[in-house]
């Protein structure tokens, strides 16, 4: 069985940058990933990635793809890694169909949107429930909608919807909205936005499509009729595939300044880690560091 020097898991900004660095160092490696671009694809306006005053997520991902294709990098696209195991000094990586062996790993699996985990959520996905306000907000012209989550992404959804929907309920589980002060003030001035704090969503109901939600505020169940529901309650790290590295209380993989995890030979980069600032440009930098770190590590092995 072939033993790689490095396997990179994930092909978002972190994984792809790691790939470019590893390719330039002529390492013997592959990238295993479900898709190219990760969560970057879902960003709409990107105005803080150096070199582009303005670019959309999908366009930036196409640039990433062109860049990585300059180097003959072997990308196993469409493969989901199920688990990473120790194999004596090396590591064994399993997907549904294949098994790979490698001396070092870079975990760059990123994050995924958090789900509400309430009754009706699975049933009505794409049938009124959406996790991408940028994509779907225009479908709700003159409709009544709910936005779950009072952080920045929830507030952003409310702003987008304020020009489209007839009525917007903003629902936050904490006792206050947690997004930027400036945006909160803006939203409080919009008449058609009704804000519920200290409020929990307990059920989404409907027929073929969403018709309403049940929420609890002050121990009282309230029913709100909505045609659409935008879930914007943050994200969680895709760190379940490995269980022998240390993680923090949020399940993020803990890395040091050289992107080393608690286990020798395992590196991690980008949003799956405890790195400060979950940003595209930060993830790129982290990916670069992880690749260099893996290269250095192999040199002295």
């Amino acid at each position: 069985m072939k033993l790689y020097e490095l396997i990179i898991i994930g092909a978002g900004p972190a994984g792809l940058t790691a790939g470019i660095y590893a390719a330039r160092k002529k390492m013997d490696f592959i990238i295993i990933t479900e898709d190219i671009g990760g969560m970057t694809k879902y960003s709409w306006d990107i105005e803080n990635y150096l070199g582009y005053q303005f670019i959309t997520g999908p366009e930036l991902v196409e640039k990433f793809r062109e860049h990585i294709n300059e180097f003959n990098v072997e990308i196993r696209e469409g493969q989901k890694v199920i688990e990473v195991l120790k194999d004596e000094e090396n590591f064994k990586i399993s997907t549904k169909t294949d098994t790979y062996f490698t001396k070092t790993i870079i975990i760059a699996t990123g994050r995924r949107p958090k789900e509400l985990n309430v009754k009706g959520e699975k049933e009505f996905r794409n049938k009124g429930i959406t996790y991408c306000a940028t994509c779907d907000a225009p479908l709700f012209r003159d409709k009544i909608v709910g936005v779950i989550g009072g952080g920045n992404s929830g507030l952003d959804a409310v702003l987008q919807l304020s020009r489209i929907a007839k009525k917007i309920y903003l629902i936050e589980i904490k006792d206050h909205l947690t997004g930027d002060f400036f945006v909160i003030n803006k939203i409080k001035k919009i008449d058609k936005v009704e804000i519920f704090t200290n409020t929990k969503v307990v059920e989404i109901y409907g027929d073929k499509f969403v018709q309403g939600i049940k929420i609890i505020k002050n121990n009282e169940i309230i029913e709100l009729k909505v045609d659409g529901l935008f879930v914007e309650i943050g994200s969680i790290p895709n760190s379940e595939i490995i269980d022998f590295v240390e993680k923090n209380q949020y399940n993020e993989i803990i890395v040091d300044c050289k992107n080393r995890t608690s286990h020798k030979g395992v590196f991690a980069a980008g949003d799956v880690t405890n790195v400060f600032a979950k940003q595209i440009i930060v993830a790129c930098g982290e990916g670069a560091k992880a690749a260099i770190s893996s290269f250095e590590y192999l040199k002295y092995l």
Binding site: Y42, P58, N126, K127, G128, C132, C135, P138, L139, R141
Partner: protein
């Protein structure tokens, strides 16, 4: 014979843009409905696909939800 291709999209959806670019690059003619503006077409899309995700692409009655490059290639025979 050429297949009739209809794309139901919104202005802001990144995948709609990618899907339309993909069709253009492959010289596939298509009709594009902005379902953010056109209520009637939105209803039509929902009726056809039983859901509200965009892009929804109708190729001679075959419905593809999302930008699924492989399926598009397969259905279009390219």
């Amino acid at each position: 014979m050429e297949k009739k291709v209809i794309v139901y999209s919104t202005k802001t959806c990144p995948y709609c843009k990618l899907a339309k670019e993909f069709l253009k690059n492959n010289n596939i003619e298509f009709i594009d409905y902005d379902v953010g503006e056109d209520r009637e077409k939105l209803e039509e899309m929902i009726k056809k696909s039983g859901q509200m995700g965009v892009p929804t692409i109708d190729i001679d009655g075959e419905i593809i939800v999302g930008f699924d490059k492989e399926r598009l290639k397969q259905v279009l025979g390219i």
